[in-house]
Symmetry: C2
Subunit: 262 residues, 2 copies
Amino acid sequence: MTEAYAIVNQKGGVGKTTTAINLAAGAARAGQRVLLVDVDPQGNATSGLGVERGKLDRCMYDLLTDDEWKETTDDPLGDVVVPTSVEGLWLVPATIELAGAELSLAAAIARETKLQQVLEPGRGRYDLIIIDTAPSLGLLTINSLAAADAVIIPIQCEYYALEGLSQLLRVIKLVQGQINQHLRIAGVVLTMFDGRTNLAREVAEEVVAHFPGRVYKSVIPRNVRLAEAPSHGLPVVAYDRSSTGARAYQSLYEEVFGDAQA
Amino acid sequence: MTEAYAIVNQKGGVGKTTTAINLAAGAARAGQRVLLVDVDPQGNATSGLGVERGKLDRCMYDLLTDDEWKETTDDPLGDVVVPTSVEGLWLVPATIELAGAELSLAAAIARETKLQQVLEPGRGRYDLIIIDTAPSLGLLTINSLAAADAVIIPIQCEYYALEGLSQLLRVIKLVQGQINQHLRIAGVVLTMFDGRTNLAREVAEEVVAHFPGRVYKSVIPRNVRLAEAPSHGLPVVAYDRSSTGARAYQSLYEEVFGDAQA
Ligand SMILES: Nc1ncnc2c1ncn2[C@@H]1O[C@H](COP(=O)(O)OP(=O)(O)OP(=O)(O)O)[C@@H](O)[C@H]1O
Ligand SMILES: Nc1ncnc2c1ncn2[C@@H]1O[C@H](COP(=O)(O)OP(=O)(O)OP(=O)(O)O)[C@@H](O)[C@H]1O
Ligand SMILES: [Mg+2]
Ligand SMILES: [Mg+2]
């Protein structure tokens, strides 16, 4: 039974892409068939896995907006998906064209469930789908929440990170009520935690108080290897498996999907 | 002669708000009358200066979309502006309502120059206007580029930071060609620089090669005091004047506006 997880937080630079890539890679290395879906026009999940955007025929933008092309093929999702450097991990790539999708979709019928429709065929082919989103709560992120079964919220251990949480929860509730009844919050992951600073500990305490029982025990430390890995087109577990960043994401993978292994 | 600067980069978490607040505070402490304009629905510039969003009557959203209210007052900008904890620094605050502005404006006439119109009266009252933007290249950021005389681009010294630059420059060129002919790129500032890592040095070299002669010599180091200051509602120069973060922003202020002092 395929499950789809969306990695969401409208605050910028909190580790959404880093979490999406490294959880997806963890699942692939554990033998699962994983699809990583890049729904951010910046395309960081695409480039972070070394996929050259210039060489792509089709991408996420076409899946969401090019109805003419989709009529000419019986497997649009299959036409767009590309392999990555990690065995068992495939990718729906994004290019900058995706920046135009919000405008193109604004007047479309069922504009909030376009992504859900295009990912439907993937449900039978992959064990796990992970969706990386942009720092926004616009239409593309709404589409991601509509297409997902569960949401993982990365929260950076810094002051501004707490600011947007109530808005994010309000939008999730709206999607649960109006578009996707079974969407659940899988959990919150603390990222870029620097134990040497009081700020990180104070914010972490506030987050735990805000989400009792929903904060993953695996905390992702600030670790330069995590920032270096994408420049090599690799998830951190392939770039430097012994680093604290790789070990933290491995432990997060086991905590989030642990029973899936059973 | 008032000048308006927009702080822009669609990559999330690169230090836009931190740069906007601390440059604005630097100018105010040097005796200038400064207006900080928050055009990000997250409202981090608003909360980072300790302004309580719940207590505001009017905010940026009203200025951009509430034409009825604007007919009832002869100084909408003056009605919205609030003082901050820093003498000489005023703020146009943002609340989460602003998230609805892109949709409300999408069909409006002259939708790209709404902000330019509402800030026009500020040109006589302040020496300097600084605009903080969201991690996006949508309509609100286009409005900010249309309203500004110059753009400052913060770039985090990390791999993904280079990814979006060509797109950002393309959008700036579009705005220069179609909406705001005299918009110029004031410069690029390197942020969160950690001299101990190769990654930061490599990215910094690439940025300098990408923008010859336009990268400010003042580099902002990673410094926890910069991340702590907003939780006290203060710019770093008021929170911990002797910190490396405060000194770096003071030196950046002098480099960007130096001749303005003359
Ligand atoms: N735990 C960590 N330690 C050190 N660096 C990290 C860590 N997690 C992420 N980074 C780096 O911090 C930057 C921001 O992370 P990332 O791009 O994953 O965040 P994001 O939320 O996806 O950003 P955006 O909002 O722009 O989509 C990147 O350069 C990334 O490599
Ligand atoms: N030089 C620095 N050293 C350490 N921390 C910093 C530095 N600059 C910014 N920060 C912290 O990093 C986080 C991101 O910075 P900031 O919010 O200013 O970026 P932004 O580009 O405005 O983000 P967004 O894209 O969400 O608007 C904040 O928690 C901020 O306090
Ligand atoms: Mg990202
Ligand atoms: Mg900001």
